[in-house]
């Protein structure tokens, strides 16, 4: 059983019917689009239920439990409610921009599903610039938030929009640098190739083993990119009411809400693909259908991690958050990138076996992580001693 061969058999069948090549391609693309989009939208409903249930369980509550078994039908009930609710547009709003913003918000996140490899070559568009493609549509999302914040013509919405864009901006840099590391190790930006490149050691040669610090850094930055706690300043109720989507109601709000959950899932899927081997796993070369199981297992594991963190941690202040990104994460990601590049090049020149290079990469990661943590610890300690109220503003080390 191989999903890819089903698709190829379908194309061959269409060609056998005597349909011209162009139409076969078009039908193929259309079907692929509908399958992935249908999957994404169903997934959103499942994710909303899952996150609420998990948060409830972690915080010793029941979570949704009224509609259907285990509250499984709750998202559907919510969707129906949102569909039929009155939609309030502020009188001062800039109409066209106001209505365009939720559309762009959901558009940019759906577009990312087109390049995620669900199993070997089971991917909407197997393009060579997958990693950059994800960054590109992420950038479009910031535009949607700016539009929403500006068009609502509400001070809180505008402030929230600007804050969240400043946050997404800042955390995009360490994420880009860290995403470059798997690209560098594999020599391709194609997400499927990156997953394939982690097939050593019986399908377990994932990059998380050689670059654990990079993976942790991705995890932290992804929390901020996904606007999730402890980095969910855009919805800091006590400071700016609710963020850029404050003036949105009914279906338009639903689109922002849905985009938020799908964004978390995409970040999980990217983490799974870049660092946890994607569809790679034992026996996947013999039974390709196992790839889907591995991929979803890893992705939902990551999603569970994100939900866990969200349900557990308190929120940071915005100055702490920006300082943490630019003064800790960016230098750390640059150090990891350059260290990986130098070690891999050394390994190539001196023809080291893979195990030696991998071991040295691991040691380098641990060293970078420990240095960062010890510097951080020293500054928080000195700041505590100074009785400073600001817990976290690291300075440059005295050289």
């Amino acid at each position: 059983m191989d999903l890819r061969s089903i698709g190829e058999a379908f194309i061959a069948w269409l060609q056998g019917l005597g349909i011209p090549q162009g139409w076969v391609l078009l039908i193929n693309w259309l079907l692929g689009t509908l399958i992935i989009l249908g999957f994404a939208l169903t997934l959103a409903l499942v994710l909303i239920w899952l996150e609420r249930k998990l948060a409830g369980r972690i915080q010793d509550r029941l979570g949704p439990n009224r509609v259907g078994p285990f509250g499984l039908l709750q998202p559907i009930a919510d969707a129906l409610k949102l569909l039929t609710k009155e939609d309030i547009t502020p009188a001062d709003a800039d109409r066209i921009t106001y209505n365009l913003a939720p559309i762009i918000a959901v558009f940019h996140i759906l577009m990312m599903f087109a390049v995620i490899p669900f199993a070997d070559r089971v991917v909407g568009a197997n393009i060579n610039v997958g990693v950059l493609y994800l960054m590109a549509f992420g950038a479009l999302g910031t535009m949607a938030m700016l539009m929403a914040g500006w068009a609502s013509r509400n001070k809180y919405a505008l402030l929230g929009g600007f804050r969240v864009v400043a946050q997404l901006f800042s955390y995009e840099i360490p994420i880009a640098m860290v995403m470059m590391i798997p690209v560098l190790l594999v020599g391709s930006m194609n997400l499927n190739e990156i997953a394939r490149g982690q097939g050593s050691l019986f399908g377990l040669g994932w990059f998380v083993w050689v670059m654990p610090a990079a993976f942790l850094l991705y995890l932290v930055a992804a929390l901020a990119e996904g606007e999730r706690a402890p980095f969910d300043l855009l919805e800091a109720e006590s400071e700016i009411v609710a963020g850029y989507n404050i003036e949105y109601s009914a279906m338009k709000f639903a689109w922002f809400y849905l985009a938020f959950f799908l964004n978390t899932w995409i970040l999980s899927a990217v983490a799974a693909t870049l660092f946890l081997g994607g569809w790679q796993g034992p026996f996947v070369d013999r039974i390709p259908a196992l790839g889907v199981v591995y991929f979803f297992g890893k992705t939902f594991f990551m999603f569970f991690l994100f939900a866990w963190i969200r349900a557990t941690f308190p929120r940071l202040r915005i100055d702490q958050m920006m300082a943490f990104c630019w003064k800790v994460l960016v230098p750390m990601s640059l150090a990891l990138l350059l260290g990986a590049a130098i070690l891999v090049k050394l390994g190539q020149q001196l023809a080291w076996p893979f195990a030696v290079t991998g071991g040295l990469l691991f040691v380098m990661n641990v060293v970078v992580l420990l240095v960062t943590l010890s510097l951080l610890g020293r500054y928080t300690r000195t700041l505590h001693q100074q009785q400073n109220k600001r817990l976290f503003t690291p300075e440059l080390p005295r050289l």
């Binding site: 989009l37 559309i103 013509r153 509400n154 690209v183 338009k252």
Partner: protein, 119 residues
């Protein structure tokens, strides 16, 4: 033809863009519409809005955007280098390190000048 690989992306973009529009149009048909001035007023916790909402922002936001733009460009330069990494020699690696260090000096300058402080 590389462009053909993007056929699905194109079809996908079209449908992913039309789908939310269609749903919004659909809800526009079925939902109740009873607007009144209070409902449509700007939401500020019940307090009357003072002045225009399009207020002036501090330059701090711009400084962050600025540093971001520079590092974003660095990423665009480094991604092709990362792809070609296995095919280039020591000299190229040295060049890339110089490139990164140059911008790292920029970051340190911004740090020293206090551009990274959120006030």
């Amino acid at each position: 033809m590389i462009a053909q690989q993007y056929g699905l992306v194109g079809v996908f973009a079209l449908i992913a863009f039309l789908f939310p529009i269609v749903t919004l149009a659909f809800t526009w048909l079925i939902r109740p519409k009873r607007p009144n001035p209070i409902k449509q007023s700007t939401y500020e916790c019940g307090i009357e809005t003072v002045g225009d909402a399009w207020v002036q922002f501090r330059a701090q936001y711009y400084l962050f955007a600025l540093i971001f733009v520079v590092f974003d460009l660095e990423a665009i330069f480094l991604f092709p280098f990362a792809v070609a990494f296995n095919k280039v020699g020591w000299f190229a690696l040295f060049e890339a390190i110089l490139f990164v260090l140059m911008l790292f000096f920029g970051l340190i300058y911004a740090w020293k000048k206090g551009a990274l402080e959120w006030q």
